[in-house]
C-alpha cells in the first residue's frame, strides 16, 4: 500500500538540514547507454542484431551471451514481466539506503527473457504482473523500478518512485521570468500538479505586461523581484528565497530573429547572451548552492533545475542564428551545471523546445508550441522524472535527426533552401 505523502510542516530553522547522500553511481560505460535512455524515460535493452540470434541482454554487455556477436543494438523493448521474488533490505552498506530502509527490491522475469533486479513500487507483491520503468536515480545513473500494470491509487506518492522523480507536489517553485508568455501556463500547471507555492520573478515591475493580472489571480503564485541580467537582483532574491526553492524553472529568454549579416551590430546578440547565457550563470551562482544543500530535505527537498532551451541549441537555425548560438552556449553551460550538481542529486532538466507560439515567431509556419503545451509537457516530465525533454513536433524531429547524425542535420539546416 502507498503511504500518502504528507504536506511537510514549516521548516524548523534550528534543526540541522540533512546532508545529501547518494546511491552508488559506479557503472560500466556500456551501462551509460541505459542512463541515456533513462534521461528520456525509455526502457531500452541490448538486442543481438544477428538474424539467427536476436537474444535480449541484461545487464549491459559488450558481446552477446548467446552467440558472442558484438552487434548488440540498444532497442526499446517490452518492459513487462512477472515479479518472482522480493526482499526488504533492512541493513545496507550504503548511507543513502541506510537512511531510507526498509527498502524493497525484487526480481522480475521479463517476458522478453532476462531477469532483472529492480526497485519496487509499494503496491506490488510476488506473482504480480508488472511493468518496469527506466529512470535516473539521485546519483544520475539508470535504475529500474517495477510498477503495477494498472495505475495504483496515489501512485506518485510511493517513496521509491518519488526518489526517482521531481514531482512538483508539495514543492515550491521559482519561475524566473514573469514576462515570458509561457509564465502563466507554467504557474497554472504547476499549481494544478500540487505545487505549494510558485514564485514568479518579475523584472522592472513598473513596466506593464499582459499576463500580470492573470498571474496575480492564481492562488499560490507570489510575484518576486528578479532580473536575470542584474547580478545584485539575482543575489538579493537568492538571499531571501534561495532556501525555499525546491524546483527552479529558468524560462528567461531574449529572442530576436536574425543571424550575423542581417544585423548591423552585436546589440541584440549581447542581449541574447545576457539573458540566455549569463542569466543562467548568475542564477546558478546564486541559487545552486542553497538547492544542492537541501536535496535531502524531506518531502519538499530541492529536486530539479529546469532550463527551458530552444531545440536550436543543438543545431543552428540561421533564421534565428544568433539566438541559436546563445542557446548553444546555455546548453553547454547546463551540462557543466549538471556535473556540478551531480554530487547533490539535484537534477538538471533540459527542456528542448521548438519554435513557440508568440510574437517573435509570428511569421513562422506551424507547427509551433503553444504555452499550454510547453507547460503540460514540462510538468509531466517532472512527474515522470525525465532529464531531457523535447517539446513540440519540430523539437522531436530535430532530436531524431540529431541522434542519427549531427552533421547531416547541420547540412540540412545550412543548405541554400533554408534561408
Amino acid at each position: 500500500m502507498v503511504t500518502p505523502l504528507q504536506k511537510p510542516p514549516k521548516k524548523n530553522p534550528q534543526l540541522r538540514t540533512r546532508v545529501p547522500t547518494l546511491p552508488s553511481h559506479y557503472r560500466s560505460r556500456s551501462a551509460l547507454f541505459m542512463a541515456a535512455a533513462a534521461a528520456e524515460g525509455r526502457f531500452m535493452l541490448q538486442v543481438c542484431a544477428e538474424p539467427d540470434c536476436e537474444s535480449v541482454q541484461y545487464p549491459a554487455r559488450d558481446a552477446c551471451a548467446c552467440c558472442l556477436s558484438d552487434r548488440l543494438v540498444w532497442q526499446d523493448v517490452s518492459p513487462r514481466g512477472n515479479l518472482i521474488a522480493t526482499s526488504t533490505v533492512r541493513t545496507s552498506t550504503n548511507t543513502y539506503f541506510r537512511e531510507r530502509t526498509p527498502w524493497r527490491l525484487g526480481t522480475v522475469h521479463l517476458d522478453i527473457g532476462p531477469s532483472v533486479m529492480c526497485h519496487l513500487h509499494s503496491e506490488l507483491v510476488v506473482g504480480d504482473e508488472v511493468q518496469l520503468i527506466n529512470r535516473l536515480d539521485k546519483s544520475g545513473q539508470s535504475v529500474l523500478l517495477a510498477l503495477p500494470l494498472e495505475r495504483a491509487q496515489l501512485q506518485e506518492d510511493d517513496m521509491q518512485l518519488r526518489e526517482l522523480t521531481c514531482d512538483p507536489k508539495f514543492r515550491r517553485i521559482l519561475i524566473t521570468d514573469a514576462r515570458n508568455p509561457n509564465a502563466y501556463a507554467l504557474a497554472k500547471s504547476l499549481l494544478e500538479a500540487g505545487a505549494t507555492t510558485v514564485f514568479v520573478g518579475e523584472a522592472e515591475s513598473w513596466r506593464p505586461y499582459p499576463d500580470r493580472a492573470k498571474l496575480e489571480s492564481l492562488q499560490g503564485v507570489e510575484l518576486v523581484s528578479l532580473d536575470v541580467t542584474d547580478t545584485s537582483s539575482v543575489q538579493e532574491l537568492a538571499g531571501e528565497f534561495g532556501g525555499k526553492v525546491d524546483i527552479l524553472i529558468n524560462n528567461a529568454r531574449f529572442v530576436r530573429p536574425g543571424g550575423i549579416q542581417g544585423r548591423g551590430d552585436v546589440g541584440f546578440a549581447m542581449d541574447e547572451m545576457q539573458v540566455n547565457y549569463f542569466g543562467m550563470m548568475r542564477l546558478a551562482q546564486a541559487f545552486a548552492p542553497a538547492m544542492t544543500g537541501r536535496s535531502a530535505d524531506g518531502v519538499n527537498s530541492a529536486v530539479a533545475w529546469v532550463n527551458v532551451l530552444s531545440v536550436y541549441s543543438l543545431v543552428n537555425n540561421p533564421g534565428f542564428g544568433s539566438f541559436s548560438a546563445s542557446n548553444a552556449a546555455a546548453h553547454s553551460l547546463s551540462q557543466c551545471l549538471r556535473a556540478e550538481m551531480a554530487a547533490s542529486g539535484v537534477r538538471v532538466v533540459n527542456v528542448y523546445c521548438g519554435p513557440t507560439e508568440d510574437e517573435w515567431h509570428q511569421p513562422l509556419p506551424p507547427p509551433k508550441v503553444p504555452a499550454g503545451t510547453l507547460a503540460r509537457e514540462l510538468v509531466k516530465a517532472l512527474q515522470a522524472g525525465l532529464e531531457d525533454v523535447y517539446v513540440g513536433d519540430i523539437a522531436k524531429d530535430i532530436r531524431r535527426k540529431f541522434m542519427e547524425s549531427p552533421k547531416v542535420l547541420e547540412k540540412e539546416m545550412t543548405s541554400l533552401e533554408t534561408l
Binding site: 551501462a31 545487464p59 521474488a85 550504503n94 529492480c118 510476488v126
Partner: protein
C-alpha cells in the same frame, strides 16, 4: 558438438598439510600477512621449506594491487607453476584440481594452495561496491544490501517454491553452531538455539542475522604433492577420488534454484566409483543456508526441493548420522574472504586423515567438499566439488 572424454583419475597425487589461522573479526594486517601465516604453517607441517614449494596457487580478494605474481616476490617464493583463482567460495576444489594435474604431470612437485583475506573496518563495504561489473551495474544500486539481498531473493523464491520454512534453515545454522563450539578457531563461541535463530535481527527479508556469515580476516592452506613424497615426509594425506567444476550453469533459469553440480554429478560419482551414500561427511559452502540445501539436492543426497525434509530426519552434528560442516562452517567460524572457499576442504583433509581433533567424526574415510562462489550479478556463478578419501 564435441563429446567429453572419460577423465583420468588423480593416481599418485595426494593432498596434505592442512593449515588454518585463527580468524579475527577485524584486522589491521594485510592479505599478504594472513596468507604468509597459513602458508608457513602448512609448509612446516610437511617438514618442508619455502624453497621446496615449486607450485603456488592463490585465492584472495584483498591483495590489490598485487596478484599471485606480486606475492611470489613478496614472500620470496620461486615457483615454476603459478595460479590465481578468483572463484571466491568455489576456489578450494578448483585450486585442488588444477594443482593435482600439475603435480600428476610433473609441471610441479609440491603445490601450495592458499586462500586468505584481511578484513579492515571498511573493506567489506568497499569490496561490495566494486565487486564485479554486473554487480556494480545491476545489483548494487538496488538497496546496496550486497550478497544478503541477492541471496534473500533466492531464498524468498526457494521458500515459496518448495514450502520451506525458516525453521528448516534454522536447523542448519543451529547444528553448525554446535560443531563450531568444538572448534577453538571459530569466531562464534556461544551456543545458538532455534529460538535465538528465529529471533535474529532482520537483515534482508527473509534472511535474518544467523543466516549470514560474519566477514573476518584469516587464511587457509594445504599442499598438493606426489604420494611418494608425502610418504617420505611421513605426513598424513588423502587421495582425490573425483573433482568437478562448472561456471554459469543454467543461465536460462530465471532465478537460481540449482547450481552447476547438477550438470556434473554423474561424472563426479562415476569418477569416484561410489555414490553419495558412501560419503561419511559433507562440507558444503554455507554462505547462506539456502545454498546448503541447494548443494545437498544437486549433489544427489536428496531430490530437488527435498532438502528441508532430508535435514529434518538427520543429525548434522559431528557426532550425528550426517556430519555436515564439522568445523562450524563459515556461518559459525566466520568468512575470511576467499578462505571461505577453502574452509570446508581444509577441514575435510583433517577429517579423512584423522587429524581433526575436537571436531573429528568417528571413522571418517570419505568426505565430499563443495564450493560455490561469486555473486557476479543475481546468482552464484562458480560451483565446484571434490571427493577425498583418507589414505589407510
Amino acid at each position: 558438438m564435441i563429446k567429453p572424454r572419460k577423465r583420468m583419475g588423480y593416481d599418485g597425487v595426494v593432498v596434505a598439510a592442512p593449515a588454518s589461522t585463527p580468524y579475527e573479526r577485524y584486522s589491521t594486517e594485510t592479505a599478504h600477512w594472513w596468507i604468509a601465516k597459513a602458508l608457513r604453517q602448512s609448509i612446516k607441517a610437511a617438514g618442508l621449506t619455502p624453497r621446496d614449494i615449486d607450485g603456488f596457487s592463490v585465492a584472495s580478494f584483498s591483495l590489490f594491487p598485487d596478484t599471485a605474481v606480486g606475492l611470489t616476490q613478496h614472500l620470496g617464493l620461486v615457483p615454476r607453476w603459478l595460479d590465481h583463482i578468483p572463484q571466491g567460495g568455489a576456489s578450494g576444489p578448483s585450486a585442488l584440481r588444477r594443482a593435482a594435474r600439475a603435480v600428476q604431470c610433473g609441471d610441479a612437485s609440491v603445490v601450495a594452495c592458499v586462500a586468505g583475506d584481511t578484513n579492515h573496518v571498511d573493506s567489506f563495504r568497499r569490496m561490495l561496491s566494486s565487486f564485479s561489473r554486473f554487480a556494480q551495474d545491476a545489483s548494487y544500486p538496488y538497496g546496496s544490501g550486497g550478497p544478503n539481498a541477492c541471496f534473500a531473493l533466492l531464498t524468498d523464491y526457494y521458500m515459496r517454491e518448495f514450502g520451506v520454512s525458516r525453521e528448516d534453515f534454522g536447523r542448519i545454522c543451529v547444528t553448525q553452531r554446535d560443531n563450531a563450539l568444538r572448534n577453538e578457531n571459530a569466531v562464534m563461541k556461544k551456543p545458538l538455539t532455534m529460538d535465538a535463530y528465529l529471533a535474529g535481527r532482520e537483515i534482508s527479508d527473509p534472511i535474518t542475522l544467523f543466516d549470514c556469515v560474519m566477514p573476518v580476516a584469516g587464511a587457509e592452506a594445504f599442499l598438493v604433492m606426489r604420494e611418494e613424497d608425502a610418504v617420505a615426509a611421513g605426513i598424513p594425506y588423502a587421495h582425490i577420488s573425483a573433482t568437478i567444476e562448472r561456471h554459469n550453469a543454467f543461465p536460462e533459469d530465471p532465478i537460481q534454484m540449482r547450481g552447476g553440480w547438477a550438470m556434473d554429478i554423474e561424472e563426479f560419482y562415476g569418477m569416484a566409483g561410489h555414490g553419495p551414500e558412501s560419503v561419511d561427511l559433507l562440507q558444503t559452502y554455507d554462505d547462506y543456508p539456502v545454498i546448503v540445501m541447494m548443494q545437498m539436492e544437486d549433489l544427489g543426497f536428496c531430490a530437488k526441493g527435498e532438502a528441508a525434509r532430508f535435514i529434518a530426519d538427520k543429525d548434522l552434528t559431528v557426532s550425528g548420522d550426517f556430519p555436515h560442516n564439522t568445523s562450524g562452517g563459515q556461518l559459525s567460524a566466520g568468512q575470511a574472504g576467499a578462505a571461505g572457499g577453502f574452509i570446508g576442504l581444509v577441514e575435510a583433509i583433517r577429517q579423512v586423515t584423522g587429524t581433526a581433533g575436537a571436531t573429528q567424526v568417528a571413522n571418517a574415510k570419505r568426505a565430499l567438499v563443495s564450493g560455490f562462489g561469486v555473486i557476479n550479478y543475481d546468482r552464484g556463478v562458480c560451483t565446484s566439488a571434490a571427493l577425498l578419501e583418507g589414505a589407510s
